[in-house]
């Protein structure tokens, strides 16, 4: 029996047998012919047991035929046997490349490698994008001008006191942002902020107005007589008579990939607030 078995299983690549009974990816690993391939490192008794276990060639059920049979045979002989059996039998299992067993697997493997390659290319491109613009200076000169300043004292529910100072400012901005935009800048978030200090708080910063400039929008800013978008509330009554309120235009550079820096434009203007409150309803 053993002799008969071994004469059958001399490893010869048989193209058709792999398609029989195999389904999907399992088919790729069913290269061996009907009889079981005798693993190299297994004792003859185990081999005989394996062959007897297999019986006739019709036993294959479309699973990993040779491999699982070998496993059972090897398992019977002794579990310590190294797994040389599978790879040892030449030509039976591993040499059957995926490409040979059907058009489906070829397409899949090609799509797989294409996908992996494109992913790595994209990753390299993204990193290149980041590293080439990481250390650029993104500051440009800005001209600010304030035309009207008014101060009111109104009720404020956000603080512990009854009334807080509320400032109204009308301003102009002139800036040319063209040099900031490059291949890695998706948009600029501009914001006009007022910075000052009061008796209550050592540092106050309030954003009065902001704007989003996308890549492709007109990069030259020529804004006149703009009103503030957000209320200029102080946390207290510190705006009255405050001469040192500084307005600056800054921007947040949003890249396609990489660092998000905050850059301040060079050019600021001081806003001296009046000493009295405005009580008329006008603005």
């Amino acid at each position: 029996m053993a002799g008969g078995g071994s004469s059958v299983e001399q490893p010869r690549p048989l193209p058709c047998s792999s398609l029989i009974g195999g389904a999907g990816p399992r088919a790729a690993r069913l290269p061996c012919p009907r009889g079981p391939a005798r693993p190299v490192g297994v004792s003859p008794e185990a081999g005989a047991r394996a062959l007897a276990h297999v019986g006739g060639p019709e036993r294959r059920r479309g699973r990993g035929g040779a491999r699982s049979r070998n496993a059972r045979g090897a398992g019977g002989a002794g579990r310590r046997e190294p797994v040389r059996g599978r790879s040892g039998s030449p030509g039976c299992v591993r040499s059957r490349a995926l490409g040979e067993t059907g058009a489906m697997n070829t397409v899949l493997s090609r799509a797989n490698s294409l996908f992996a390659f494109s992913l790595s290319v994209m990753a390299a491109l993204t990193f290149g994008c980041f590293i080439t613009t990481a250390f650029k200076d993104r500051s440009v000169p800005v001209r600010l001008h304030v035309s009207r300043i008014m101060l009111k004292n109104v009720e404020d529910f956000t603080g512990p006191r009854e009334r807080s100072d509320l400032g109204f400012i009308t301003f102009d901005i002139t800036a040319d942002l063209e040099n900031i935009f490059d291949w890695n800048v998706k948009q600029l978030f501009l914001y006009l902020s007022a910075e000052y200090s009061t008796k209550n708080n050592a540092l106050n910063q309030v954003v009065l107005w902001d704007k989003i400039v996308l890549r492709g929008d007109n990069p030259k800013l020529l804004l006149k007589d703009m009103k503030t978008k957000y209320f200029f509330f102080d946390d207290g009554n510190g705006l009255k008579g405050n001469r040192n309120v500084t307005l600056t235009l800054s921007w947040n550079v949003v890249p396609n990939a990489g660092i998000l820096p905050l850059v301040t434009g060079s050019g600021h203007v001081s806003v001296p607030f009046p000493d009295t409150y405005e009580i008329t309803k006008s603005y």
Partner: protein, 173 residues
């Protein structure tokens, strides 16, 4: 079918190889954990990489984009910065921009935030009676950004993340 084949593989290994495989697996898992914890220490933030969940910071950040955060103590919070903060009583952190800060002499700071795509500031999102945020609410400051592919990620991300957190359809977030 597949499981039986895997078991055969395992059965064929001797004890040493089995232990080796288990150790290998353990090494991989602990390496990943070490890298994550190391990032947490370096950045000082409890969550160094976050995913943007909502559209309130468009067009800068869309759903599915990655943000890299740092939270070092010596970096003061200033207006215009993008902060990720957590409101008491809600577990999902929010990514918005700082609108106003008031800092006292001793370093105690209170600030207000607003999403770029929202019309109003975040006071409506804070806890009842809370008007300002403080440093302890901050998870981190956004320092780096990586955008995901827009077409498929939007939908997939929303499906996946909304299945993990029930209340992610909050319009303000």
């Amino acid at each position: 079918m597949l499981s039986l084949d895997f078991l055969d593989d395992v059965r064929r290994m001797n004890k040493r190889q089995l232990y080796y495989q288990v150790l290998n697996f353990g090494m991989i898992v602990s390496s990943a954990l070490m890298i994550w914890k190391g990032l947490m220490v370096i950045t000082g933030s409890e969550s160094p990489i976050v995913v943007v969940l909502s559209g309130s910071m468009e067009p800068a950040f869309h759903r599915g984009d990655l943000l890299f955060l740092t939270n070092r103590v010596e970096d003061p919070i200033r207006v215009g910065e993008i902060v990720v903060f957590r409101i008491e009583g809600r577990e999902i952190p929010i990514v918005h921009r700082v609108l106003k800060i008031h800092e006292k002499q001793n370093g105690h700071i209170k600030f207000l935030t607003k999403g770029d795509n929202n019309a109003v500031d975040d006071r409506g999102l804070y806890k009842q009676g809370q008007h300002w945020l403080e440093k302890k609410d901050v998870v981190g400051r956004a320092r780096g950004f990586y955008q995901e592919n827009r077409s498929v990620e939007d939908r997939n991300c929303k499906l996946l993340i909304c299945s993990l957190y029930w209340d992610c359809d909050d319009p303000h977030e």
